[in-house]
């Protein structure tokens, strides 16, 4: 296995604090909407915002505790090194692009391209290996979902051109 020690991209302490801050934000949003809904205990039991209010409150309090603990005595250990982060992003970014592409290319075309890209860039396979896998998977899912199970998945211009939608 190759060496991923490398330069640290972030320490545990910083990430810990960022995550805690995000959770606190989430908690505040929950509290805000709960107050709008009514967060009291009415005569016939709790109102719609009663539980969310306390959930939000606990979120804020617990994330504040995590935040200050990290601030005071957070571990300076490496959360992720630069080479590791690069590897993670090399999959995460294309995955994000892939999900965005589904909306306008359709599930099947986007999936074919995604698998092909992945095999080509990360696996360095030859076209002769890539094509059957990428096409085969999409055709299999097309048959499975559209024909067999009759569950429509998003389709794009190609399916429209082929009259398959």
């Amino acid at each position: 296995m190759s060496d991923f020690s490398g330069r640290p991209a972030a320490t545990v302490r910083v990430v810990e604090m960022v995550v805690a801050a995000l959770i606190a934000c989430g908690g505040s949003v929950v509290i805000y909407d709960s107050i709008r809904l009514g967060s009291k205990w009415a005569e016939d039991g709790p109102q719609a915002g009663y539980f969310p209010f306390y959930i939000g409150l606990i979120l804020v309090v617990s994330s504040a505790a995590i935040f200050f603990k990290a601030l005071r005595a957070g571990s300076r250990a490496t959360f992720v090194t630069v080479p590791q982060l690069k590897l993670v992003l090399s999959v995460l970014v294309p995955t994000a692009i892939y999900t965005a592409a589904i909306a306008w290319l359709g599930m099947y075309v986007a999936s074919t391209l995604f698998i092909a890209w992945f095999m080509w860039v990360l696996g360095r396979y030859s076209v002769a290996r890539i094509l059957p896998v990428a096409l085969g998977v999409s055709v299999f899912f097309f048959l499975l979902f559209e024909i067999w199970f009759k569950v429509p998945l998003p389709k794009g211009p190609l399916e429209a051109a082929l009259g398959l939608n």
């Binding site: 009514g38 016939d44 009759k150 569950v151 429509p152 939608n165």
Partner: protein, 333 residues
């Protein structure tokens, strides 16, 4: 009502003629049938029955696919069809949440955003109590509720600020009693809660409670319609649906029927609409459909075209009024 039915029949006949004269439109791909409710409920059952009838009798060349989009009390499904402007391959079956959901939640849609196709039937509501309770008539029951004082009797129903609760509030307004309304997930749950005596009464649809009635666990008191139901075949040893008196006769002047109708996306052509009108007409003509209607004691009124549109508009007015009186409109507490 009678006049409008004749008009509807004439219109339908006209539609059939018009349809066969001009080379009619037909679906070119499979049709998505949206159910704005979860799997297993009344709307879902009817949609799947229609799908089955269409497939079995070959009423359509393309297939029909039922898709459940019940999020946000059905808003998810309605918004999807509203957004599919001009798409003739998407139809939706409605229940009362067509009116109640936008009113109660403020989600931006209205039936006018959709193209009305056809009313399939109206679903009845019946006042049920546990068979072991002493109440034999609606009057006895309401008197007992009145005597006990407010919030002593528990009425169970499906969902919140929807048809069951509207009926409950209407009963309260009419008779001056006060129930504790408890919302449950589905009609079947409500019926079982009533059998288990966790609630005192329910306003279940016939099909939701019929099994427990036949099993001798529940007792129907009255039906929320002007007239008796027409089904005379015995359901239990002694009673048929037709033996249940209308609530009005029993001193509770509340009537409520729930729409089971079909709508399409906005912006479709006349040809496309007519195709579905005819399709649904043929569905209603099958013996399977008639059997289903009888089993669920449905009110088999069916309307199309302008009559349907007028009926829906009137019904919206009525819901607006009912929801306002009950304090269920969005923003009100």
């Amino acid at each position: 009502m009678k006049f409008s039915r004749i008009v509807a029949a004439l219109f339908a006949a006209g539609a059939v003629l018009a349809g066969s004269a001009a080379q009619a439109w037909e679906p070119t791909k499979s049709v998505e049938f949206v159910v704005p409710a979860g799997t297993g409920g009344g709307a879902d059952q009817m949609a799947r029955l229609i799908q089955g009838i269409v497939a079995k009798n070959g009423l359509m060349k393309q297939s029909m696919i039922v898709v459940n989009k019940g999020g946000g009390a059905g808003a998810e499904g309605f918004l999807e069809v509203k957004g599919a402007k001009g798409d003739p391959h998407k139809i939706i079956i409605t229940l009362s949440n067509l009116f109640t959901t936008p009113m109660a939640t403020g989600v931006p849609f209205n039936w006018k955003d959709l193209t009305p196709v056809s009313m399939m039937a109206l679903d009845q509501f019946v006042l049920w109590v546990n068979a072991e309770s002493p109440y034999k008539t609606a009057k006895e029951y309401i008197d007992a509720v009145k005597k006990a004082g407010p919030n002593k009797f528990k009425m169970g129903g499906t969902g919140s600020r929807q048809e069951d609760q509207i009926i409950t509030v209407a009963i309260e307004k009419q008779t001056g009693v006060k129930f504790t309304y408890i919302p449950f997930k589905g009609g079947g749950d409500v019926a079982v809660q009533l059998v288990g005596k966790h609630i005192d009464s329910s306003v279940n649809n016939p099909i939701e409670a019929v099994a427990q009635w036949r099993g001798g666990k529940l007792r129907p008191l009255c039906v929320f319609d002007d007239e008796r139901m027409p089904y005379k075949q015995k359901v239990t040893d002694t009673m048929s649906w037709a033996d249940i008196p209308p609530c009005k006769q029993a001193g509770v002047d509340v009537d409520y029927l729930m729409l089971r109708g079909i709508f399409m996306a906005p912006g479709v052509t006349e040809d496309q609409r007519v195709f579905y009108v005819r399709l649904m007409q043929r569905v209603r003509g099958t013996p399977e459909w008639k059997e289903f209607m009888e089993k669920g004691a449905f009110n088999t009124s069916a309307l199309m075209g302008d009559d349907y549109r007028t009926w829906v508009a009137k019904e919206e007015q009525r819901h607006q009024q009912l929801m306002k009186e009950a304090g269920f409109l969005a923003g009100s507490k």
